[in-house]
């Protein structure tokens, strides 16, 4: 969705994450200001834009929609989180590839 408007670049390598309050699922802050379980829908910010974006996302913490808000750094020019921890959060436990949020969504859409 945000691929054209949110082109990858050296400067833009920050995204925002949290866990959804009701079920604890990992979610990512999108361009439209909603939260997606899919990393590829996360909006990518530059370091400078992060502060403002975090303020906006914080409103959802206050609305009790998400918990544990923080910023995640991506590998430059990719949509892959820099740390192993965040890659596991994004793609599910490495021991259960079928729990990758993308795989789950495909099952629920087509299954």
């Amino acid at each position: 969705m945000a691929a054209e408007t949110n082109a990858l670049s050296e400067e833009k390598c920050h995204i925002i994450t949290a866990n959804r309050l009701s079920d604890g699922r990992v979610v990512w802050f999108t361009e439209q200001g909603y939260w997606s379980v899919l990393l590829e829908e996360a909006y990518i910010f530059s370091k400078e834009d992060m502060e403002k974006a975090m303020e906006q996302a914080q409103q959802d913490v206050e609305k009790q929609y998400v918990v544990g808000l923080y910023g995640v750094e991506l590998k430059p020019t990719t949509r892959i989180p820099l740390t192993t921890r965040e890659r596991i959060r994004a793609f599910g436990p490495s021991t259960h590839p079928e729990f990758n949020p993308r795989a789950i969504q495909e099952i629920s859409t087509h299954g």
Binding site: S22, T84, T95
Partner: protein, 566 residues
């Protein structure tokens, strides 16, 4: 099938059966938590306010989801309980559960909004998630062979149940300086790692040949691993609770509350010295109202009455029939050789159902397997199931002639791994695949190591060895005290692993392992284990196990072999 009569046919075997008061207490706690969850979801409670409340009910927020940790008091389940857990795995989680090293079970994918319903379901099978988190006395662990071991002097389950009841409702000990873990066994031979608990309790015979408890205090793992100290070795069973109460009072009084890293009892005992600590406990013990905590024969009988027990029957043909089956089927023979444990009754065995299939997650069990185990327990072991701190399952009382039939059923359900106590019987924490505190994954390392040693003949050649793998220094999988311990460390967001060697868990040769050298990558650490095992096989003298060879040669040659070409 064996005629499975119990002393009290209406009571589940091997564990305390709830009475009305217990049921009422649980219902009250669930109602309270349901209203807290509702208030949280409506925004009436902030996360800061809610967090301690959810933790008191065993709910953690992990990497992907809420995790619910359910207590299995002293590791004993009835088949009804296990079916209840299967139901939760199937309908509220993702079809499986994970047995931990503290004889609990964890569900990794629960939803906060559904937790009150899960707790209601748990209560219907006499289970709960209380005391699985927070700075309280945690679920008490015990010997998986309790009530059947040939060397047992006292049945520890009665005392573990007394501790459970005493600690669940104890007003003073709900907010201790830190979490507090107790393990108890009724045997002199340590199978519970007694020296590495806040309080570890073993039984022995005194000079009059009467059973008494020896109590170890101030042991623990984590950031600062410490071998506990013997505080008393002559506590009479009736005074046992009073003495434990006195220890807790001293800890509650003097334990540090302002520094997370100094607040465990191990630090207090270290700082005071065991003699001064013992003196403080004795003083408290002398002035306290001992009568209030005295375990009179009436109290013991009351608790005892809530336990069902199997009525074991002599069957003189049992061993002969078992031997025939063993002769006929080498795979079955191997399973009996590696996975059985002697029972005080000669016609019975206890057997270990290892949750350690090669390439799978140690301690994980699917909902279908839970149901299968529950059914088999009903048929072969009085509906009683034991969960071990080594993340396996035990059937306590299987008549020897029935073992072959049981084994064939286990094979059908993928539960017949014959690797108990061998190199692929790895203890492993959830690590970074699930745990919010982790530095690195542990399950993937366990799976890869197991694959390297998949050949059962090679495993038997290597012999007895214990590997523990932890994703962080909290050491849930005991890496400090396993023969080879692997610890995940973080280096700028990437996973590395430190090796410890020479650890040993049990009293007679309890030891904390030594760090072998610099941290390695995942591939390197697996190679390192292979090299150490090859080296041991090459250098060992007759009948030596890995730890024997290590003790004879020391760490240096193992270090050399691991780091030489790295």
């Amino acid at each position: 099938m064996d005629n499975q009569t119990a002393t009290q046919p209406n009571l589940a075997v091997g564990r305390y059966n709830y009475d009305e008061i217990d049921h009422g207490f649980l219902q009250e706690r669930i109602n309270q938590f349901r209203s807290q969850v509702e208030r949280r979801l409506k925004g009436e409670l902030s996360e800061e306010e809610f967090k301690p409340l959810r933790l008191m009910n065993g709910v953690y927020l992990q990497l992907h989801s809420y995790m619910l940790r359910v207590a299995i008091p002293y590791g004993i389940l009835s088949s009804k309980m296990l079916r209840g857990l299967a139901y939760i795995a199937r309908y509220y989680d993702r079809g499986y559960g994970h047995f931990t090293t503290r004889q609990n079970i964890q569900f990794h994918w629960t939803k906060l909004e559904e937790v009150p319903d899960i707790l209601t379901h748990l209560a219907s099978v006499e289970m709960h998630a209380i005391q699985t988190s927070g700075n309280c006395i945690r679920n008490v662990t015990s010997d998986e062979f309790a009530g059947l071991a040939q060397d047992e002097l006292i049945d520890p389950r009665i005392y573990a149940e007394i501790l459970r009841q005493w600690s669940t409702l104890h007003p003073e000990f709900a907010f201790l300086p830190r979490k507090f873990k107790i393990a108890i066994s009724g045997s002199p031979n340590d199978r519970i790692a007694a020296c590495f608990y806040d309080i570890g309790i073993l039984a022995r015979l005194d000079s009059q040949k009467k059973p008494v408890f020896e109590i170890w205090v101030g042991g623990g793992l984590g950031r600062i691993p410490v071998k506990g100290k013997l505080i008393r070795d002559d506590v009479a069973p009736e005074s046992f609770l009073a003495y434990v109460e006195a220890i807790l009072r001293v800890y509650n009084m003097y334990g540090a509350r302002n520094n997370l890293y100094k607040s465990r009892i191990k630090i207090l005992v270290q700082n005071m010295g065991i003699d001064a600590f013992r003196e403080a406990v004795e003083k408290e013990y002398q002035v306290m109202d001992q009568e209030k905590f005295k375990l009179s024969p009436e109290i013991m009988e009351q608790i005892n009455q809530r336990f069902g027990r199997p009525v074991l029957q002599d069957f003189p043909e049992a061993t002969k029939i078992l031997d025939q089956h063993r002769n006929e089927n080498p795979e079955f023979n191997r399973w009996i050789k590696n996975n059985s444990h002697p029972h005080f009754h000669n016609d019975y065995f206890a057997v270990v159902i290892a949750l350690k299939n090669i390439g799978e997650t140690p301690g994980d069990i699917t909902a279908d397997q839970m149901d299968a185990v529950a059914n088999l327990a009903d048929q072969y072991s009085w509906g009683e199931i034991r969960v071990t701190h080594l993340q396996n399952i035990v059937f306590g009382h299987v008549r020897k002639d029935q073992l072959y039939k049981l084994w064939k059923e286990l094979v059908k359900n993928d539960l017949a791994s014959a690797n108990q106590g061998l190199i692929t019987d790895i203890i492993c924490c959830p690590g970074m695949d699930y745990c919010a505190l982790a530095n690195a994954r542990s399950i993937s390392i366990a799976r890869e190591i197991a694959k390297c040693f998949a050949d059962i003949e090679l495993q038997e050649k290597i012999g007895s060895i214990k590997i523990g793998i932890d994703g962080c220094i909290n050491s849930c999988a005991h890496h400090h005290i396993t023969n080879i311990g692997i610890l995940g460390v973080d280096k700028k967001g990437e996973e590395f692993y430190q090796i410890k060697i020479g650890g040993s868990s049990y009293k007679d040769d309890a030891e904390i392992g030594s760090i072998l050298g610099a941290a390695l990558t995942a591939e390197q650490v697996i190679e390192a284990v292979k090299k150490m095992i090859d080296f041991y096989l090459d250098k060992r003298e007759e009948k030596e196990t890995f730890i024997d060879t290590y003790r004879r040669l020391g760490a240096a040659p193992f270090k050399e072999i691991v780091y030489a070409a790295a």
